[in-house]
């Protein structure tokens, strides 16, 4: 598609499983954290990425930004192969990409350096990129704090003087400091009080409209995903199993895992067929994922071929992709 801002192609990230000895360690296997993942994010949209804890959402996002080097795979930003740039590009070129792609972290208690004032934290990208002359930093800092709903006097405070919601605003201000086009929001509200979650989500929506941003919104909380996303990708054990527009996905989930997730939402869904199919069993290990469809040990509709035949995303209706031998 032409209007793709980001395209991730065959992204793979394996972590070695080591057995530590006294003098050396031996690799005994691999965790297939992200296993051959392909999807695109369109300019100006919010793509939600959902899945249970440990399914590889964060790893996908970090591999995309090369915060952990992917094992293999490509990622394109506006047609540029950014993995290539991160691996072999000149320093200026890497910085140019970094400026455009930013990250908001899950836990604002861990993502701010406790010994740095807010001003130091938000201005750090200015020191790295030098995209503004120094005499304008103060004005820009004021602008940024206002943009995320903080006061100017907050600049000289330290993270421990703020609430979780305020810290997350600081994290957002830092990400916006370099005028990015694309923001990864990795569970930006899941560590916050329920009462401030909506505020932060609304702030993100407002910023998206004001600044023309594109989001990858990661969460295991389906109600916030439904609230903020245009399209949703569902991930299970390192694989994307379904992608569709948000209304389509919630109304017509095709993958049995998606369906199970949806029926597990705590809020009442009057029009949904509240089946009995709540997720059963443990999430299998990503070290030795089941062959065939990775969901088959927990799937009620599993066919014999589900156990052996791998299954890839395929079109199933209007811009709806699903990886299932026997869709609902």
């Amino acid at each position: 598609m032409q209007d793709d801002l980001i395209r991730i192609e065959k992204m793979v990230k394996f972590y070695p499983v080591m057995r530590r000895g006294i003098f050396r360690s031996k690799q005994t296997g691999v965790i297939r954290a992200v296993d051959n993942v392909t999807f695109s994010i369109r300019r100006g949209e919010t793509l939600g990425l959902v899945g249970e804890s440990g399914c590889g959402k964060t790893t996908t996002a970090r591999a995309l930004l090369y915060l952990t080097a992917p094992t293999s795979g490509r990622a394109h930003f506006q047609g540029t192969d950014i993995i290539e740039v991160f691996e072999r590009g000149a320093k200026e070129e890497i910085l140019r990409i970094r400026r455009r792609l930013q990250y908001v972290f899950q836990d604002p208690y861990l993502s701010l350096n406790p010994r740095w004032s807010i001003a130091e934290t938000v201005l750090e990208p200015f020191r790295v990129h030098r995209h503004l002359p120094e005499n304008q930093w103060d004005d820009r800092l004021m602008e940024l704090l206002e943009l995320v709903g903080l006061e100017y006097y907050h600049a000289w405070r330290y993270p421990h003087e703020f609430s979780g919601g305020q810290r997350q605003r600081v994290g957002i201000a830092r990400a916006l400091a370099v005028e990015p086009r694309f923001l990864i929001c990795d569970e930006p509200v899941s560590s916050l009080d329920v009462s401030v979650r909506a505020q932060i989500l609304n702030l993100l929506i407002e910023l998206q409209e004001k600044l023309g941003l594109t989001y990858l919104y990661i969460s295991h909380d389906l109600s916030s995903v439904r609230f903020i996303s245009d399209r949703v990708a569902v991930m299970y054990l390192g694989k994307i199993v379904e992608i569709a527009a948000v209304d389509e996905l919630f109304a017509r989930p095709l993958h049995h895992y998606t369906y199970a997730l949806l029926t597990a939402i705590p809020i009442p869904e009057p029009d949904a067929d509240r089946g009995h199919s709540v997720l059963k069993g443990e999430v299998p290990s990503a070290v030795n994922p089941p062959p065939g469809c990775r969901f088959h040990p927990r799937c009620e509709a599993a066919l014999p071929q589900c156990r052996e035949m791998p299954v890839e995303l395929a079109p199933a209706g209007d811009e709806h992709l699903v990886a299932c031998h026997n869709p609902r």
Binding site: L67, R98, R115, G171, R174, V178
Partner: protein
């Protein structure tokens, strides 16, 4: 609370503590025995008149409380009394012998600090690599080795077999090395400093490495990388300071306890420092020397503590003095 008020309060507390410790030590020494008994045991033939005059000279005929108060009064005038064994003023002895101790200890602490930061950071940024394993095993071994054992190994290797460094003393008794007093002194310092450095570095490296590993896992490190900061600058700007602060306490302990580790090193290398003096003073119950040394040990510990607390305030914005 203002920092000045905090310091004043701590200073008052320090005075109380130092006096308390000195009372305790004084009465403990006397519970063990007194120098006259040792003198008698060594030379049984001494006449009672001589003993009486010695007792009077050192005021040992007074009550213990009187003896203590007169010691304290003199200390307030910076008079620490005379050594019973060396018959010299304790004050000037503490200075001359103390210099020998401080010389090797401070040098060892500075060297180990530089080494520990370099090695600790190298190991932490390569967690679970061969380098990391090597560093960890060497450091763990270093901490579990008894102090005198390493000293003896060093003497065996560098003095006995290789014959390149002296095994005892701080100065050559005959002609100094290459005719230079400074070179000669440094030459004698090599082995004791090596021994001290090894032990300091072992613990400091382990501390810095493990703190560093913890800090490097934090999301703000990731955030700095996402900002475009290079890996090296991330370590330097974000991780090192955060990792170093917990090690600061240990550094202060090293300074404060300088005299605590001195006896072993100085006995192994026959080094004319306060540690060596301390051991001989205890053997002879030379109480003015013991009391003087204890005063210094206590003062160094409390001062090191106070300085760490103050340093924390300047380094860590979250800490407020209470």
């Amino acid at each position: 609370m203002g920092i000045v008020r905090f310091i004043i309060r701590r200073l008052i507390f320090m005075v109380v503590l130092v006096i308390g410790v000195s009372i305790l030590i004084f009465f403990m020494i006397n519970a063990i025995g007194n120098p006259i008994e040792i003198l008698l045991a060594e030379r049984p033939g001494i006449s009672p008149e001589v003993i009486e005059s010695v007792k009077q000279y050192y005021r040992l005929d007074r009550s213990l409380t009187e003896q203590y108060l007169s010691w304290l009064g003199n200390v307030l005038h910076l008079n620490f009394g005379n050594s019973i064994v060396y018959n010299q003023p304790v004050g000037s002895m503490l200075v001359t012998w103390g210099w020998e101790t401080v010389k090797i200890q401070v040098l060892a602490i500075l060297i180990s600090l530089a080494l520990a930061i370099f090695i600790g950071v190298t190991a932490a940024t390569r967690q679970y690599s061969k380098i990391d394993f090597g560093v960890m095993s060497t450091a763990l071994l270093g901490r579990s080795l008894p102090g005198f054992f390493l000293g003896i190994l060093l003497i065996l290797t560098f003095s006995y077999w290789l014959g390149i460094f002296p095994s005892y003393g701080a100065y050559s008794t005959r002609s100094p090395l290459m005719g230079s007093a400074l070179l000669d002194s440094l030459w004698h310092m090599v082995l004791p400093v090596m021994m001290l450095t090894y032990f300091n570095t072992a613990t400091l490296t382990l501390l810095i490495r493990s703190n560093m590993v913890d800090v490097l896992r934090m999301d703000f490190i990731m955030a700095a990388r996402a900002s475009g900061l290079s890996a090296g600058r991330v370590v330097y700007r974000h991780a090192l300071k955060n990792a170093f602060i917990p090690a600061l306490t240990y550094l202060a302990i090293l300074f404060g306890l300088m005299l605590g580790t001195a006896p072993v090193t100085e006995t192994v290398f026959t080094w004319p420092g306060l540690g060596f003096l301390y051991i001989t003073a205890i053997q002879q119950l030379d109480y003015p020397v013991i009391m003087g040394e204890n005063l210094i040990i206590t003062l160094m510990l409390v001062i090191a503590n106070l300085l760490t607390d103050i340093a924390y305030v300047f380094i860590d914005p979250r800490i407020r003095l209470e």
